[in-house]
């Protein structure tokens, strides 16, 4: 389990690294091109991974219907997320951005769980509030939100 915890930790490292690198690239080639590059390189990597792991295709148990269409929207949502990240990285401290992204995920997760199952996780709610307080504590005062933050 320790090894798996380390892998999870590393996934967090790579999350931050990839958006930061994409943002750096966008300084030279623009945000849309950087998003495109992310997907060209990412698709190549995904294809490689697919081939290297034995090219396994799971055939769906039932034929696809129009009801399965929403499952294909992840690609579009991912483009929005990647593109937004490229725009936001230069405008926020990395720490703040990490916490804001997490809080967005956490609170929407709590909301979706509530609407789906009617249950409310008090642990997640309390945790979310504590993390929100932590975010407010860390935010440097008197900083105009729209300033780019490059060290030049």
């Amino acid at each position: 389990m320790g090894m798996i915890l380390i892998l999870a930790f590393i996934s967090g490292v790579t999350t931050v690294l990839s958006r930061t690198l994409n943002a750096k690239l966008s300084e030279s080639i623009g945000s849309k091109s950087s998003t495109l590059v992310n997907y060209i390189v990412g698709f190549s990597g995904a294809l490689l991974f697919f081939l290297v792991t034995g090219a396994k295709i799971n055939h769906p148990a039932q034929p696809l219907t129009v009801r399965d269409l929403p499952y294909f929207s992840g690609g579009l949502l991912g483009v929005i997320v990647v593109f937004l990240a490229i725009l936001l990285v230069p405008r926020l401290p990395a720490y703040s951005m990490t916490l804001l992204l997490f809080l967005g995920q956490l609170f929407s997760g709590i909301a979706f769980d509530f609407f789906k199952t009617g249950t409310l996780s008090t642990g997640k709610l309390i945790g979310g509030i504590l993390i929100t307080i932590g975010l407010f504590i860390s935010n440097p005062p008197k900083r105009k939100s729209l300033d780019r933050q490059s060290a030049t």
Binding site: L7, F9, L21, L36, F43, L47, L84, G104, G123, A151
Partner: protein, 138 residues
């Protein structure tokens, strides 16, 4: 405004993870990841199809964001299928937080240097407490 957009992005990520999980159960992990990137390509190409000057002296690793993103997906998949969701989330968040603090404190890749001062130390204590609450009672 960037703060609100970041929160919104987090919400979109939740939805995205949900639908992507559905795709993975339909086709298997590795096919799904390919499909997701293919759909992404189809979506972005109409907006971004232009010449990219490859000889600007850009460090090679600036181009690797997409590849590192695949590592994220692979490692997340392994972690979330083996660990409880809250534990995997906590470990991933720890990695993100540690990396973010490093980037801010050291001013990595030209970002604004933000010292790891008392404000951030106290902030971190709240983050740890909050993460603990999620893992223990979430």
């Amino acid at each position: 405004m960037p703060e609100l957009l970041s929160l919104l992005s987090g919400v979109i990520i939740t939805i995205m993870n949900g639908v992507n999980a559905g795709l993975q159960s339909l086709f298997g992990d590795s096919v799904a990841v390919m499909l997701i990137h293919l759909v992404g390509l189809i979506c972005i190409i109409p907006f971004a199809w232009r010449k990219i000057d490859l000889h600007q002296g850009i460090p090679w690793y600036f181009w690797s964001g997409g590849l590192i993103g695949i590592l994220t997906i692979v490692f997340s998949n392994i972690a979330f299928s083996s660990l409880s969701m809250t534990l995997a989330t906590a470990a991933a968040l720890s990695g993100q937080t540690a990396t973010s603090l490093w980037i801010d404190t050291a001013g990595i890749l030209g970002s604004r240097k933000i010292p790891f001062d008392w404000r951030r130390i106290i902030s971190l204590i709240f983050i740890l407490a909050g993460t603990g609450a999620i893992v223990l009672w979430g």
